[in-house]
């Protein structure tokens, strides 16, 4: 027991040192006002059969990892999941101890605004479906230990997609979460933007669709803005430079990866996490903005869920987890 205590003290001192290096006297938070929040964004590649088959063991393992972490008290407090199309992936939401689950729009919750792409309306009028033809829901989930007190969504309009991505009802999903001790609720947004080459559509079309989705996210942010601190995370498919540039220019939030790496000493990077996987060699991203009277800062980040199961990765994405400190100013 004594040995364990000693070990724990050392660990705590090291953690403290990390915070101390960058915090400085001027912006040192009052200890009692700092809240730690672990947020995981994870595209679990839960495509339905027959596109993907035999994924159940992978979903089960993802759930196991979250349960193991919960048993250790290190579970992410909020999990943002993308591509939970397969009903069998529900195991991740239902068996991991998260009390609150917000499901994104389903297949039938489509937005009927917009118009069919001209490519799909060049033949007989009645066979041109200007209403979106969605075959899958949004695939979005938000799991939270903390109460979700409000939730909003916006399905992208029918002309805000390109290629195969149009088959799913891609959306923006907001959960307003009450975090004990925080002066204001926290707004968490999960989304999955149009893919690039996987969309199998002309480059201009997919870029245009992605740009429109970015515009819609900006509109959504303006519409839902109440002064709450905001974390926007998900699979934004912004690996392409011009997509990333447009996205960050329009949205205007801080990129957690950039901010963390600019603040070495205040923000740690997980062991085994490659820097490029936090920055530009990834479609998974975290962005954030302070709220009125609440400061948000990334303190630690890592790419996780990198284990193999039966020789295959759990997903075609890694988890992207950021430990934020939320500070009541």
């Amino acid at each position: 027991m004594a040995g364990m205590m000693k070990f724990t003290v050392i660990i705590l001192m090291l953690m403290g040192a990390v915070f101390e290096q960058g915090a400085g006297a001027a912006d040192a938070p009052k200890a009692s006002e700092v809240i730690v929040l672990r947020v995981l964004s994870y595209n679990i590649n839960g495509l339905p059969a027959p596109i993907k088959k035999g994924k159940e063991p992978h979903y089960a393992r993802i759930a196991d990892v979250l349960n193991e972490r919960r048993a250790n008290g290190t579970q992410p407090h909020i999990v943002l999941i993308q591509e939970a199309f397969d009903g069998k992936s529900d195991i991740v939401a239902e068996t991991t101890g998260y009390k609150y689950v917000l499901k994104g729009p389903g297949r039938k919750d489509e937005s009927k605004r917009g118009d069919a792409h001209w490519v799909q309306k060049t033949r007989k009028a009645y066979a041109s479906f200007s209403d979106p033809q969605k075959f899958m829901g949004s695939g979005l989930l938000i799991l939270s230990d903390y109460p979700i007190i409000d939730a909003r969504h916006k399905a992208f309009n029918s002309d805000e997609c390109a290629g195969f991505d149009c088959m799913s009802n891609k959306s923006i999903l907001l959960a307003r979460i009450e975090i004990p001790g925080l002066g204001r609720p926290l707004d968490i947004i999960n989304s999955h933007f149009n893919s690039r080459s996987a969309a199998k559509a002309p480059k201009k079309a997919v870029f245009k669709a992605h740009s429109r989705q970015t515009n819609t996210l900006k509109w959504f942010l303006d519409k839902t803005h109440t002064g709450n601190p905001i974390i926007v995370a998900g699979d934004f498919n912004t690996k392409e430079e011009r997509r990333y540039s447009y996205f960050t220019e329009i949205i205007g939030f801080k990129d957690a990866g950039v901010e963390c790496l600019d603040a070495i000493g205040r923000c740690a990077v997980g062991e085994g996490t490659r820097v490029e996987e936090l920055l530009f060699k990834t479609n998974d991203k975290h962005f954030y903005a302070d709220g009125d009277g609440v400061q948000v800062q990334p303190r630690r980040m890592e790419r996780n869920f990198d284990e193999m199961l039966n020789g295959k990765p759990l997903s075609d994405h890694l988890g992207y987890e950021v430990v934020y400190s939320l500070l009541n100013e």
Binding site: L12, E33, G73, G97, P180, G181, K204, S325
Partner: protein, 290 residues
């Protein structure tokens, strides 16, 4: 001062840690309310939260469509070997996705589901007038323009489209029925250029076939009497191309090769010097999208 933040979920009594670590210059902070309000060991079914949609103010136009002006070439009549080049108008319009007009067709969508649309449709069909055809066909009765009503069903899956239209004559011209089946796929070569190969087949009832391919009374003509029977009489392959010029303009070109089969193939009209089983039609137009 060194700050350490411990989430309550760690399960350690913070006061104990604070007391223990204070001499080491470590200040232990905690999430003040989390421990008592949040259940990190929740084991029940999750509480599913319902989200509310935020919809934008964007409105769809009630009317949408296209108007094209160009040139077309088509057989003088069904089964003709002669083709004529004429000016062409290509017009399509849709009102609220309910009523549509497509050149010689007008219809209403009465059933709308994700994979299927169906409704009623009417069309005006060209006939066969003696003044349009050559001497060999003179003596055959005129076939006036027919007005037909019917039903349609159509679906599209991504860029694959299928349609079926069934027509019944209400103008007393042929008193028969006609069914058109069509399938195609749009290849999007780039954001401005598409090519759609289309395959189709057309079926006619006995009365329909007799009107267009049969010979009832051979007196005054060079044809033997011929009784055309019901069946598929035309199969076709079409290639349709569009090149987008701007947001509201494009140029289109399409070419259809038809082969008359079945009872139509054996028709003395088709087999005459003025007839052919090979039918070509094509259109080239500049199109304004609205």
């Amino acid at each position: 001062m060194i700050y350490v933040v411990i989430g309550f979920e760690a399960g350690f009594p913070v006061k104990v840690w604070a007391k223990f670590l204070a001499p080491l210059g470590v200040c232990v902070a905690a999430i003040p309310v989390a421990a008592k309000d949040v259940d990190f060991k929740y084991s029940g079914q999750p509480i599913y939260i319902q989200s509310e949609e935020i919809e934008d103010e964007r409105k769809k136009d009630n009317w949408s469509g296209r108007l094209g002006i160009g040139l077309q070439i088509a057989p003088d009549f069904l089964g003709s070997s002669e083709h004529t080049l004429t000016s062409a108008v290509d017009f399509k319009a849709s009102y609220k996705d309910i009523i549509f007009i497509e050149n010689n067709k007008i219809g209403s969508i009465l059933y709308k589901k994700r994979l299927l649309r169906a409704g009623i449709i009417g069309r005006a069909s060209l006939g066969r007038r003696n003044d349009l055809v050559l001497a060999d066909l003179q003596g055959l009765p005129d076939v006036n323009e027919a007005f037909e009503v019917g039903v349609f069903a159509g679906t599209s899956l991504y860029k694959l489209f299928l349609s079926a239209e069934a027509y019944f004559d209400v103008s007393g011209v042929h008193n028969g029925a006609n069914v058109e089946l069509e399938a195609g796929y749009t290849y999007e070569f780039n954001s401005k250029f598409t090519v759609a190969p289309i395959l189709g087949a057309v079926w006619g009832s006995g009365d329909y076939m007799q009107t267009y391919f049969g010979v009832d009374d051979a007196v005054g003509t060079s044809f033997e009497p011929y009784r055309a029977s019901a069946g598929f009489y035309e199969v076709y392959a079409e290639i349709a191309m569009e090149h987008r010029l701007s947001k509201n303009w494009l140029v289109k070109g399409s070419m259809r090769f038809s082969d008359l089969v079945g009872s139509a193939e054996n028709s003395p009209i088709v087999r005459s010097d003025d007839g052919s089983t090979d039918q070509l039609s094509a259109i080239f137009a500049v199109v304004w999208l609205f």
